[in-house]
């Protein structure tokens, strides 16, 4: 399901035009991005938490050339599902 399909399905549920839904979704994403950039954790009830984690700098060694490279630290977004979502997923038969 891509962006458009998501908007379509949401518009159907809300009984509102796609353009409004698209606009709202865009604003929501913007808000979330700003909050995350500000190093905040966002919690969606019954869905999960978005948080920013810092990956520390590390030394990587190229396996074949043995060249050592210092990888600088970086900030990444991490998502952890809530327990409610986890319970819901338990009912799901696995596809693999």
């Amino acid at each position: 399901m891509n962006h458009k399909e998501l908007i379509a399905s949401m518009a159907e549920k809300m009984n509102s035009p796609k353009s409004i839904v698209a606009d709202l979704l865009e604003k929501t994403i913007e808000t979330c991005t700003e909050l995350l950039a500000d190093d905040k954790t966002i919690g969606f009830q019954s869905f999960g938490n978005f948080e920013v984690r810092k990956k520390e700098e590390r030394l990587s060694v190229h396996p074949s050339t043995q060249i050592r490279t210092l990888i600088p630290p970086k900030l990444v977004v991490n998502f952890k599902q809530s327990n409610i979502l986890k319970e819901k997923l338990k009912d799901l038969p696995h596809h693999d």
Binding site: M1, N2, H3, L6, S9, M10, K13, M14, V21, D23, L24, L25, K27, T28, I29, E30, T31, C32, T33, L35, L36, A37, D39, K40, T41, I42, G43, F44, Q45, S46, F47, G48, N49, F50, E51, V52, L59, S60, I67, R68, T69, L70, I71, P72, P73, K74, L75, V76, V77, F79, Q81, L85, K86, K88, L89, K90, L92, H94, H95, D96
Partner: protein
């Protein structure tokens, strides 16, 4: 978690204010959004949200574990898990504080140490050469002391030839002024000779076998070499009569001398030498001329004493030869001589090639002494114009940079970085040094630029900021080190 956590309610508030919709509408929207995503995930789909990221279901296999308290084996059942992969846009926005950092390769120092090692290695043979030259000098001094009065003159003549021989490779591929210096230092009489004659002497010197006859040649050259070469053919006939009784003495110790006895064996020998070492051939011919002259003009008897001393010298020089190959010598000599020259920054390597050409020329016409000298002179003069055509990029890198044109300007805000500007305008953050250089007047400290400072982005030559050219990167990094370390020292 001390981090500020934004709850669903706060998100609703923020979204409603931002989209200027009622809170109720925002709340409904968020609920629908989450349920939509969940449903899609439940259906086994991948949910992709533009500029945010992708949600995916991941199946974790059941696995065995051990109960920490009881030690019993337990099986953790398999479960599905929602994973989120942030979009590039979100990734970059979040990582903004560390965006200026780039991976650093730590093994760069090895190259430098290798270069130093190479320098040491190439200097070593030179030192050995000098030592051997000193040894030869000492040996010659001994000979001089031992020799009867009659031989003294000859030994004095031998001394310079030995000196020149030990350093002849340098002379060959170096220049004539250097040749003069060596001559002046080592020999008083030979210095008086004219340049062209020196060259001839040098050519004559090359074969060690004819060494004993060299003194005669030297004196001969002082008289007139041109005349000598012109009359060579006549004298070969004459000398063949003179040689025999002299020959018997020398034949045992000096095999090369015997070749000069009959013209035909000489030709065979000429070919043989050609195979062995190309540059020996013309030299051998010259030496032959010298030998014939010596026999013709001087009194034949040459004592065994001189012979034995000369053979010992020969051994010494032969040892020296074994230690270094020709290429090694070229390297050493060019490196050693470099600092002396005014044009030291120019690569010396091309020089050797013309010299080789000149030698091959001389091989083509081995009988003509002047012919061998002329190309040698040319070869030394030739490389000079070649040297002057220096890499234009290198010039640009080394020369001072002038910033006249600007392609843009940026105002510093919190979070602005020169490296980011560099990446934006030059496609590589390493080139920030050029922005700094252009704005030096406004930036007292490149690490802390006051907010509100207007930064002018200079227009740089595309060759200077060629990302694919390691030279450009290297230069930028050098400048980086220069500025950053300067700051740290202050």
């Amino acid at each position: 978690m001390i981090k500020d956590k934004i709850s669903s309610q706060e998100i609703i508030d923020l979204v409603s204010s931002k989209a200027s919709v009622s809170k109720r509408a925002a709340e409904e929207f968020l609920k629908v959004m989450i349920t939509s995503i969940e449903e899609a995930l439940m259906a086994g789909e991948v949910v992709k949200i533009k500029n945010f990221g992708t949600f995916k279901l991941q199946w974790n296999e059941p696995r065995k574990s051990v109960n920490v308290h009881t030690g019993e084996d337990i099986i953790i059942p398999g479960y599905s898990k929602v994973t989120f992969v942030p979009d590039v846009v979100l990734k970059n926005v979040v990582n903004e504080p560390f965006a200026h950092l780039e991976p650093v390769v730590l093994d760069g120092d090895d190259e430098d140490s290798d270069e130093i090692a190479v320098d040491e290695v190439t200097l070593d043979p030179l030192r050995v050469l000098n030592e051997q030259a000193a040894d030869i000098k000492g040996l010659l001094a001994d000979i001089q002391a031992l020799s009867p009065k009659k031989k003294q003159m000859e030994v004095e003549e031998v001394l310079p030839t030995e000196e020149v021989k030990s350093e002849r490779i340098e002379i060959q591929d170096y220049d004539l002024t250097a040749l003069d210096d060596i001559e002046v230092k080592t020999e008083e009489n030979a210095v008086n000779e004219e340049k062209s004659e020196l060259k001839k002497v040098e050519e004559v010197i090359i074969p060690e076998a004819i060494l004993d006859l060299k003194p005669e040649v030297a004196s001969e050259i002082e008289n007139k070499i041109e005349y000598a070469t012109a009359t060579v053919e006549n004298e070969t006939d004459v000398s063949s009569y003179d040689i025999p009784k002299y020959e018997d003495d020398i034949l045992t110790t000096e095999p090369v001398v015997s070749e000069e006895y009959v013209p035909n064996p000489f030709l065979d020998n000429h070919k043989f030498l050609k195979k062995k070492k190309r540059w020996l051939v013309p030299a051998g011919l010259l030496a032959l001329v010298a030998v014939l002259f010596g026999l013709y003009f001087l009194v034949p008897p040459v004592t065994n004493l001189v012979d034995s001393s000369l053979t010992s010298l020969k051994n010494a020089t032969a040892d020296a030869k074994q230690n270094f190959s020709m290429t090694e010598m070229f390297n050493t000599v060019s490196k050693w001589a470099e600092p002396k020259k005014a044009t030291s920054e120019i690569v010396v390597v091309p020089k050797t090639k013309p010299v080789v050409d000149s030698i091959s020329d001389s091989i083509a016409k081995p009988n003509m002494v002047p012919a061998t000298v002329k190309p040698l002179v040319k070869s030394i003069e030739k490389p000079i114009p070649v040297k002057k055509s220096v890499d234009s990029l290198q010039l640009m890198l080394d020369g001072p940079r002038v910033y006249k044109k600007f392609i843009g300007s940026e105002r510093i805000t919190s979070g602005s970085r020169l490296t980011l500007m560099s990446k934006k305008y030059y496609k590589k953050s390493d080139f920030w040094v050029y922005i700094y250089e252009a704005n030096k007047a406004n930036i007292p400290n490149p690490d802390h630029i006051a907010a509100g400072t207007l930064i002018q982005i200079p227009k740089l030559d595309s060759r200077l900021i060629d990302v694919s050219n390691p030279k450009c990167i290297k230069k930028a990094l050098e400048l980086h080190d220069l500025y950053v370390k300067k700051r740290q020292q202050d």
